[in-house]
């Protein structure tokens, strides 16, 4: 299995398309950083318009590395599923398209092993992508903008709220958020891998994955009570941005933030459970389908 995984990672590393995702992330992050360095105060003025009378803060200090990373992740984690689908959607269909799938399957390797290796490779790619995001969005921003207390703008229904997290209480939250994002994006990878089994070219599964994510996201946010109650809790897209939960700091009876606390850990735990269940189910279906599939490509 280890040897197979090495082979798979070697193949992924030699394909130019692998690096498109890293280049795209770099470009987006650098644009954000440049924009905020050049004119971050205008953005802060806009964000703080409604609370400027009741909230005193140093707007320059508010734009720090931690804040920048949060802003970037907020935007980027919506786009990253496309980048993950680019690799996972190609895992089986790409081999079928090249004609190498039939050669692979005439080797003494079980189909289950091959599929698990493809899944693991997609997972490693997803983690690598997130690590690169951490380097670019977090550490580079920390280097450019410095470190200070972090402000979070939270909109809940018609209420908007600003949360302040102490500088020494932020970093662990980012590690946890990136871990959560890795699991959330692995659901996308598992979905793309399943669709990849049915196709003989990469474009189909990649587009189908993105379409499913878009449709489920729309359904998740449709706001109709019957759907919110019966459908939304079971859609993985309802939990894709659950990483934000790590930045919602718990408060005491006086409304003061408690360092090191989370507002709603059980909700995060439940989200993680549902995401992992999605991964297990999608992977299980993929293995069952792939084991029985006639290779006609």
């Amino acid at each position: 299995m280890w040897s197979l995984l090495q082979i798979e990672m070697f193949k992924i590393s030699r394909r130019p398309r692998t690096y498109i995702a890293f280049a795209a992330i770099s470009a987006i992050v650098l644009i954000f950083q440049f924009a905020f360095k050049a004119d971050g105060s205008s953005y802060m003025n806009l964000m703080l318009q409604s609370v400027q009378d009741s909230f005193e803060l140093d707007r320059i200090k508010a734009i720090n590395g931690y804040f920048m990373c949060y802003i970037i992740l907020n935007t980027l984690l919506v786009q990253v599923p496309i980048l993950v689908a680019l690799i996972a959607g190609d895992a089986i269909s790409g081999e079928a398209n090249m004609g190498t799938l039939r050669l692979l399957l005439t080797k003494p390797v079980s189909r289950t092993q091959l599929l698990l290796v493809k899944f693991m490779a997609s997972f490693i790619f997803t983690v690598a992508l997130l690590l690169w995001m951490a380097v670019m969005a977090l550490f580079l921003s920390m280097a450019i903008f410095g470190v200070d207390d972090m402000l979070i703008f939270r909109v809940s229904g018609e209420e908007s709220q600003i949360l302040q997290i102490g500088a020494d209480d932020v970093l662990w939250r980012y590690f946890a958020a990136f871990g959560y994002a890795a699991i959330a994006l692995t659901v996308i990878a598992a979905l793309a891998l399943l669709l990849s089994i049915y196709a003989e070219n990469s474009i189909g599964p990649i587009i189908a994955t993105v379409c499913i994510v878009i449709i489920c996201t729309i359904v998740s946010n449709i706001g109709v009570p019957i759907i919110d109650k019966n459908v939304k809790p079971w859609l993985f897209t309802s939990y894709l941005v659950g990483w934000k939960g790590f930045f919602y700091i718990g408060t005491n009876a006086d409304g003061q933030p408690i360092p090191g606390s989370l507002e709603n850990w059980p909700a995060i735990r439940k989200s993680l459970f549902i995401l992992i269940a999605h991964i297990v189910i999608l992977l299980g279906i993929s293995i069952a389908v792939f084991r029985k599939k006639d290779i006609l490509s």
Binding site: I7, P16, L103, L296
Partner: protein, 309 residues
């Protein structure tokens, strides 16, 4: 010789279509076993079932005396294959492709082993070139190296000369003969080209519409007493009437020809007979004996394209 591969009542059904229908045959150790049939006859489906790429609807496959389904890993580790085109990773070099598939075959891989293999197929000097820069013939040779790198006992080649130029076809034939005669490998080779099977195979099976219609030793099937002759006369209907009164009563009209199966040595006698009847003969075309055999097996409902090479 021992039976190396045994197929019993193999069937593959896709909804209403039986791609392979109750097929049974056996391959002996050291054979070059030809798998002959027109395009769509069921050759590739059968070969894919031998390699576990397609699951049979019914039937049993035994290789090296063991059931394929239950001993897949063990059997595939001693089997090498090229299925139709030798598709490899275009963005990797020849060496990397070979190394990757060798490692998947679970053998100890060394640089020497890989370079020896590339040397054998004449690609050692291009070992660091990306496969996308290779010609079809070079890809085919690399495919052979991939199929042989783990020193398999059984080699399965599905249409190995597809897309090759005449020199490539000749090289491939020589290689297959060398694998069998010098290296003692058992080779199953499928083709829709009769001439190819005739030159290299020791035994063969003919399948048509998924069914076996003949199996045997190729030399026995090349019987000159079974030559297909196509005659074009001034009036085929009259010629047919006269022939039906003779020992060539199997004659039948096929398009603008009269077609009959006969001993090649009797052709001058046939021409004299029709001449004596005052029949003008426009053309006489003796077809290859194996071709005649094949056409007679497939009820003459085949077109001649499979033999045009």
């Amino acid at each position: 010789m021992n039976v190396l591969l045994e197929v019993n009542h193999l069937t593959k059904q896709y909804r209403d279509i039986k791609a392979v229908d109750d097929l049974s045959f056996s391959v002996m150790e050291g054979d070059i076993y030809g798998f002959l049939g027109q395009n769509g006859a069921g050759k590739s489906t059968t070969i894919r079932m031998l390699l576990t790429l397609i699951a049979p609807t019914a039937g049993e496959i035994k290789i090296f005396g063991k059931t394929l389904q239950e001993n897949r890993h063990e059997i595939l580790s001693q089997t090498g294959a090229i299925i139709e085109r030798p598709d490899l990773y275009q963005y990797l070099t020849a060496y990397e492709n070979l190394s990757l598939f060798a490692r998947m075959s679970k053998i100890k891989v060394s640089r020497k082993l890989l370079m020896d293999q590339l040397e054998m197929v004449g690609l050692a000097e291009r070992s660091q070139s990306k496969v996308r820069t290779f010609s079809q013939g070079m890809k085919q040779r690399l495919g052979i190296a991939v199929a042989l790198v783990h020193d398999p006992k059984l080699i399965i080649l599905d249409e190995p000369t597809n897309g090759l130029d005449p020199q490539g076809i000749a090289d491939m034939r020589n290689l297959i003969l060398r694998l069998s005669r010098q290296m003692g490998k058992t080779v199953i080779v499928s083709s829709h080209l009769l001439s190819e099977i005739e030159v290299i195979a020791s035994r063969m099976i003919v399948i048509h519409k998924g069914k076996k219609i003949a199996e045997g030793v190729v030399q026995e099937m090349l019987d000159p007493a079974n030559t297909l002759v196509q005659l074009e006369t001034a009036n085929n209907m009259h010629a047919l009437k006269w022939l039906q009164e003779t020992r060539w009563a199997n004659a039948a009209i096929q398009g603008r020809y009269l077609q009959l199966s006969m001993n090649r040595e009797d052709i001058p006698q046939l021409i004299r007979y029709l001449g004596e009847k005052g029949m003008d003969i426009v053309a006489v075309q003796p077809r290859h004996s194996l071709e005649a055999y094949f056409l007679s097996l497939t009820n003459n409902d085949t077109h001649v394209e499979p033999f045009a090479n």
